[in-house]
């Protein structure tokens, strides 16, 4: 998130849209509760009246899959009713930048659309030549500070979002007009300079084929309201696992390496990688950060002569996301899988396909704390063990309190955690397991040779029998190659020459800069201030708690909210309640706010330099499977750039007339490997179920607690029905549509077993991130038996 948990207490209005804080981040309610005690308000926008809605001031229903329409409606409302922060827009966004007059949008497509059969039948890719700024001969972006030029971002922006009037939004989302206006008026009131609005979201925002455009919508709304970079504001993703933030920071996503640098692509050498560096902004230092990472990986072996062992890095040849590689696995391309603390046979899309795909593996290694469904796929109710030749290894893994190291929370705070007890039985930490695996592979390469052994043999890897997380922390933090002294910050990587520093993940530099008292171990709470707690753990980057904090002031450096300033210009210098996220040696008129962007500005229009593959503005597209068509996108029904892996898996609403969505409960955790084996938690929430409205229940002749059969194009499951007024049908484009919702926690292993909701979900993901569309597809439902 751009802000952090403690900062939530300062929000005047918090909106949980595409998130269910009470169920999935209950501890953070402590801070939202403080904001309510301070006079703040909480809005919940959700298909169901959730446990969070129960404690909110305003609840608004929404059709699953229509966040973009809702957010676009809020953006338009703020513009039409003059609730946006005009000065913020002028100073901190690209509103005044001029766009290529050739750029446009009509009938569901932006300019530059070309057919791309690789993404599936009828799908497109965009060529971005028209998605450019107008520039002078020196390459500087042309601007109109009055925001009047017909090609300036602000005019294009107003025009695009004007299509999302209240009536259109209501018809698409099913949220009644008066309720939408109530939400809009309340949330957009935070456009006032001294007010702060907080968008707190999670998977209900991201798990769609247009998920990343949803998040862009949050960012755009917050930017025009002046809520980015201020205390109490922010675009705040509530991360769903203890250390998913840390995992991403350390490059565990397939398309990036550590510190959010791109994975080298097929055919790209070091010169080509360097040439792809953005022309301005802080990312100009990327080559140095990458070289520092290579030095950490390859040590003395990485030199200027061999491009720092750049050629030893794997190359990204195609989509290698989870959705993709399970498809390759089904096609026989993947022979082995190492699966650590992941349970795709319950959490993945179309899980029946995943079980069958795994049968194609020669071997499968699962490291987990219990025997989960992925390790047991061969004995699933729909599998025949006789037909499965896969050799399965189950490695007992230590639980999180049986090992030490750091975990990074949603607020980017890196916190050291201590070991509470020794691992049970033979279980080992992931670090121990990975170390042994690597050593065994290296020994084999050493003894037998093989295709391209150098990337393994030359790796700087010598942790002994029992790797010490402290040594690895030092490596990640980074050090001067000459004397091994730990780096205080990534500025040192940028300031020194290639090869002079090493750092496993540049964004973390500083978290472990003093091995006797590492920053991530500090636990000193602040006694005054705005809640930054600069001496409590370490927040990347550079211990900044609220990022983009230059935006907390106007052009002259005066804070929008003098009662809660993050930084401010006074007596010829910057005063701070946080670490400045800009060049604080410069006076206000010379600083760039968004230092990672070449423009130095945030993007209301994300064309040039941006990486959105499906458009610079956020258009509402229907989910892949839908019960309606949008009047806004012509013949284009769903995201034209999303990859369709199994066209035959798409259901027709004639056969599946109900909207299906999946979610979580507070009593269970993800695929519940841990919680469905805990007797007290099983007692608290014992069985799988679905939730339907009383009207749908009456339609199919079902009462509360009866068994029902829920079916999609991908599969069929039997579960209990929870009939409740907390789920209601919505009027969509004039027709009443019902919703069937269900938690995804259950599987066939453990103390409590039950049907998996993901047997029903579709294998199609976000065009940018590939996260599957778990939250909106279609189904049918009937009485069971």
């Amino acid at each position: 998130m751009t802000n952090h948990w403690i900062d939530y207490q300062h929000s005047d209005v918090t909106i949980n849209i595409g998130g269910n804080t009470v169920e999935n981040h209950p501890i953070s309610m402590k801070w939202i509760q403080r904001s309510l005690d301070n006079g703040g308000k909480l809005i919940v926008v959700d298909p169901r009246f959730t446990r969070t809605a129960a404690v909110a001031d305003v609840y608004a229903p929404i059709r699953p899959g229509t966040n973009t329409a809702f957010l676009n409606g809020l953006i338009n409302y703020a513009i039409q009713n003059n609730l946006y922060n005009e000065e913020y827009v002028k100073v901190h966004t690209n509103a005044s930048c001029l766009v290529n007059p050739e750029f446009g949008y009509s009938d569901g497509l932006f300019t530059g659309a070309v057919e791309d059969g690789q993404r599936g039948p009828g799908q497109m890719s965009y060529e971005r030549d028209t998605w450019t700024y107008q520039k002078d001969e020196d390459g500087n972006i042309l601007k109109d500070e009055t925001l009047q030029d017909e090609n300036c971002v602000w005019q294009l922006f107003k025009d695009f979002y004007s299509r999302y009037d209240v009536k259109t939004v209501s018809e698409l989302t099913g949220c009644p007009e008066d309720k939408f206006e109530e939400v809009a008026e309340l949330f957009c009131s935070t456009g006032a300079p001294e007010k702060a609005g907080n968008i707190s979201y999670a998977m209900g925002m991201t798990q769609f084929t247009h998920g990343s455009q949803n998040v862009r919508g949050c960012a755009i709304l917050q930017l025009i309201l002046g809520n980015v970079g201020v205390s109490g504001g922010g675009v705040n993703a509530q991360r769903g696992q203890v250390n998913v933030q840390g995992a991403c920071d350390m490059g565990q996503l397939f398309h990036i390496v550590t510190g959010y640098m791109p994975m080298p692509s097929d055919g790209q050498d070091w010169d080509a990688y360097k040439a792809a560096t953005p022309p301005s902004g802080y990312w100009t230092n990327r080559p140095k950060f990458f070289a520092a990472m290579l030095k950490a990986f390859y040590g003395e072996n990485a030199t200027a002569d061999n491009d720092y062992c750049f050629d030893y890095m794997p190359r990204l040849d195609k989509d290698r996301s989870s959705v993709a590689y399970y498809t390759y696995m089904a096609q026989g391309e993947i022979k082995g899988l190492l699966c650590f603390a992941d349970n795709p046979v319950v959490s993945g899309a179309s899980t029946a396909r995943k079980r069958r795909a795994q049968a194609n593996l020669d071997w499968l290694v699962v490291a987990d704390i219990y025997e989960n469904e992925t390790a047991s796929f061969w004995k699933a109710p729909d599998m025949n063990p006789e037909d499965v030749d896969t050799e399965v290894f189950l490695l007992p893994a230590a639980a999180h309190f049986e090992k030490e190291g750091t975990a990074t929370n949603s607020g980017r705070w890196i916190q050291w955690r201590y070991k509470a007890q020794e691992p049970t039985g033979d279980s080992k930490s992931d670090m121990w397991i990975v170390n042994k695996l690597f050593e065994a592979v290296r020994d084999l390469y050493d003894a037998e040779g093989g295709t391209f052994p150098e990337p393994i043999l030359q790796m700087n890897w010598d942790y002994g029998d029992d790797p010490d997380p402290r040594e690895i922390c030092k490596e990640i933090n980074g050090y001067y190659v000459a004397d091994g002294e730990l780096l205080p910050g990534f500025g040192e990587i940028a300031a020194n020459d290639f090869g002079e520093t090493a750092s496993g993940s540049w964004i973390y530099t500083g978290f472990y800069q003093d091995e006797d008292n590492p920053n991530c171990k500090r636990r000193t709470k602040e006694t005054e201030g705005i809640g930054s707690n600069l001496e409590y753990s370490f927040s990347w980057p550079a211990n900044r708690r609220i990022v983009y904090n230059r935006a907390s002031c106007d052009a002259q450096g005066n804070p929008w909210n003098p009662d809660r300033p993050v930084v401010w210009w006074e007596d010829g210098e910057w005063k701070t309640n946080d670490v400045p996220d800009f060049a604080a040696g410069l006076p206000p008129e010379e600083t760039a706010t968004f230092i990672m962007n070449p423009e130095g500005l945030s993007r209301l229009w994300a064309g040039e330099f941006g990486s959105m593959v499906d458009g610079p503005f956020t258009e509402h597209y229907e989910p892949w499977e839908s019960i309606t068509k949008s009047p806004l996108t012509g013949d284009v029904e769903f995201n034209p750039v999303a990859t369709i892996w199994y066209p035959e898996d798409r259901g027709d609403s004639a056969d599946y007339p109900y909207i299906c969505t999946t979610y979580r409960l507070v009593e269970h955790y993800q695929t519940a490997t841990e919680t469905r084996n805990s007797p007290w938690l099983v007692e608290a929430m014992p069985e799988m179920f679905c939730e339907i409205s009383p009207s749908l229940a009456a339609e199919i002749g079902v009462e509360n607690g009866d068994m029902v059969e829920v079916e999609s194009k991908r599969g069929k499951i039997e579960v209990k029905a929870c009939v409740t007024p907390r789920v209601k049908p919505l009027v969509i484009n004039g027709e009443e549509k019902e919703i069937v919702g269900m938690p995804f926690h259950w599987g066939f292993m453990g103390l409590s077993t039950g049907a998996s909701a993901n047997d029903l979900s579709p294998t199609i993901g976000c065009a940018n991130t590939t996260i599957p569309e778990f939250k909106s597809f279609i189904c049918n439902i009937r009485r069971a038996g």
Binding site: R51, E667, F689
Partner: protein
């Protein structure tokens, strides 16, 4: 010595069930077998192994759907009916307000459950209910439920202070538009050591509007003094074998003699 009260501000409760699980863990109570019957509420009732639970009260009115949550456990009444009716005086009212059942003396007759307006004590080899975590309070800790509660819906402290807090909270809620916000436990049954701040009327939270001790229990206490003793002897004789068995089972955590050592947090 000051009386301790558990303050439950239901408007801060989000029904995470942390309190219910913490109670199980602290008291090492086994999980019971439950099933999904159409509600998030589980377990569906108190039991000898379930001393507290979260109630989910769903209804719909002109304003829309309401889903009211409340933590439900022993109210530690000022004048406990269970204490009055117990034929063997196994139930005591501690100085700090906690109502405790002495497991060793209990003969599992079930009269306490019958007398209690909230049907709290549950009978197995003895009567079981919330102990108010007096051993935790004696060691400057909060009750297990309060410790687990992350929003501050459950807090423990001096009863008079908690009442003041509750009143301020009710005012704040009324300012926010909860016209029916009220306190429950100030005067009910002569006062409870569990004070609720409710956003609406008690029956919408599954609480009896004006709880009364049953007439028979009243008779038992006031009018039937000597009869009570005779009946007690009879009951004891009849349950002699179970009384001996009970002596062998797990020792109750606290004895009468420790009453003076209790401190209020």
């Amino acid at each position: 010595m000051a009386k301790v009260a558990r303050l439950i501000d239901v408007t801060k409760c989000m029904a995470c069930k942390g309190c219910q699980v913490a109670c199980k863990q602290w008291n090492q109570l086994p999980a019971t077998e439950t099933e999904f019957t159409g509600s998030y509420e589980n377990p569906a009732d108190l039991a000898p192994e379930t001393w507290s639970r979260v109630k989910f009260n769903e209804h719909e009115d002109g304003d829309g759907v309401k889903w009211y949550f409340n933590f439900f456990s022993c109210m530690h009444c000022a004048n406990p009916a269970c204490k009055d009716i117990c034929p063997v005086d196994a139930i005591v009212k501690k100085e700090n307000g906690a109502v405790r059942i002495d497991k060793e003396m209990c003969i599992a007759c079930g009269a306490c459950r019958g007398a209690c307006p909230f049907e709290i004590p549950r009978i197995d080899d003895a009567a079981y209910k919330c102990t108010f975590c007096t051993e935790r309070l004696a060691n400057n800790m909060e009750t297990a439920c309060a410790t687990a509660c992350c929003t501050g819906a459950i807090t423990v402290g001096d009863r008079d202070e908690k009442l003041e807090e509750a009143k301020a909270r009710v005012e704040a809620l009324q300012d926010r538009g909860f016209n029916n916000a009220q306190i429950y436990g100030e005067e009910e049954l002569g006062g409870l050591n569990v004070i609720y701040v409710l956003a609406d009327s008690p029956e919408l939270y599954g609480l009896p509007e004006d709880p009364q001790v049953s007439f028979s229990a009243y008779l038992w206490k006031v009018a039937m003094g000597p009869v009570k003793t005779v009946a007690a002897i009879g009951l004891a004789a009849g349950a002699l074998s179970s009384w001996f068995t009970m002596r062998k089972t797990e020792v109750e955590k606290e004895k009468e003699a420790e009453t003076e050592e209790l401190e209020v947090k």
